[in-house]
């Protein structure tokens, strides 16, 4: 199709589809409504029965923990897929990584100083996800981005050193498999898969909420290592290897 035809098709489609979508949204209960029965029930159960102050964590790691299992493996599969796709093919030659041009000293210092702080914050956010804002997803993302501050500071070689990819690789598997193992704890204790059978502890203390925190840590490991692997692979691609097979494919 030519560009004109494609654009024409798009306009026609968007008019119809957009009209349907907007009409449906106007027919939906307006934003800000008072009644949220499912949400309120989830909050009540989270706080009163499961000793989990952060309702989001209770939903993600307890009430609807199965979704999170699926999400975790979705992430696992994406990371695996991206690595397979970006992996150098036999035609590629590895080029020794050269550091990007010297960054400002201040930038570098800031990056190096911030690194431990951010990593610490990441661990904290993962570990206290059942209590306050945070959890495995957020903490994992913070960890991964934190470590890549080193890259922004221009010290790619240092980044390569502090980022032992094989270890992260193992973590990726541990996070994914750990979630299943914690889920099986419920079965081992005579309950259902992913049932929160551990002692629930005292409300609003670190060791409470049963398996919520364990699952959150598993997700934290998975998200953190998955994102590190992803960014690592993209960095290696952009800076490290260079395709020499390119000329043969071009122009076909």
């Amino acid at each position: 199709m030519t560009r004109q035809v494609r654009t024409g098709l798009l306009v026609v489609g968007l008019l119809g589809f957009g009209a349907l979508l907007v009409a449906a949204l106007l027919a939906a209960p307006p934003s800000g409504r008072e009644s949220h029965p499912y949400g309120d029930a989830a909050s009540q159960i989270s706080v009163q029965r499961q000793n989990t102050p952060n309702v989001i964590s209770s939903i993600n790691f307890d009430q609807r923990g199965f979704d999170t299992l699926g999400e975790e493996f979705l992430l696992f599969a994406s990371v695996l897929g991206a690595i397979v796709l970006l992996r150098p093919t036999p035609g590629d030659k590895q080029v020794e990584v050269s550091d990007a041009p010297e960054p400002l000293d201040a930038v570098r210092a800031l990056g190096v100083l911030l690194l431990p702080v951010v990593v610490l914050v990441g661990f904290y956010v993962v570990a206290t996800g059942h209590l306050s804002i945070g959890g495995g997803f957020q903490g994992g993302v913070i960890l991964a981005t934190g470590i890549h501050l080193l890259f922004l500071a221009g010290d790619y070689k240092a980044l390569r050193r502090v980022r032992p990819l094989p270890l992260v690789d193992v973590d990726d598997v541990v996070g994914a498999f750990g979630y299943i193992v914690v889920g099986l704890v419920g079965v081992a204790m005579g309950g259902a898969f992913l049932q929160n059978t551990l002692p629930l502890g005292t409300f609003n203390t670190l060791f409470s909420a049963g398996t919520v925190d364990l699952l959150s840590v598993a997700i934290g490991i998975e998200v953190g290592s998955g994102m590190i692997l992803l960014l690592g692979e993209f960095l290696e691609q952009a800076l490290g290897s260079q395709s020499s097979a390119s000329s043969s494919g071009a122009g076909t």
Partner: protein, 114 residues
């Protein structure tokens, strides 16, 4: 106000899709898809919003406090992370396409026709 989140969501969704269609660069297509995805986040949170509700975290507040709907937030949270990894996979594919064909322009990639 009560429909503004919906309209913004619909706008992001439709504009993102349109951007993906007319894009002449595979990476722009993927960026446009991520804008469309952000529309679904706004829609979810808009649906779960409660006027005057606080965040559904009861660490420092009374258990009886009115909060916004936590369910949509849980859905949205997981989706933000997973959406990003799916985009990364698409980006990896775009890199690969470019590596072998030398172009990011979908108009120039005609090997798979007919």
């Amino acid at each position: 106000m009560t429909i503004l989140p919906y309209l913004v969501a619909a706008f992001l969704l439709l504009a993102g899709l349109a951007g993906a269609v007319i894009s002449r660069d595979l990476i722009r297509t993927i960026v446009a898809l991520s804008v469309a995805q952000s529309g679904t986040y706004v829609l979810l949170l808009g649906i779960g919003w409660r006027r005057g509700g606080s965040a559904p975290v009861f660490a420092d507040v009374d258990p009886g406090t009115r909060t916004v709907d936590p369910i949509v937030q849980a859905l949205c949270l997981t989706d933000v992370v997973v959406g990003a990894t799916v985009l990364s996979l698409l980006l990896a594919l775009a890199v690969k396409v470019h590596q072998s064909s030398g172009s990011r322009d979908p108009d120039a990639l005609t090997e798979l026709g007919g």
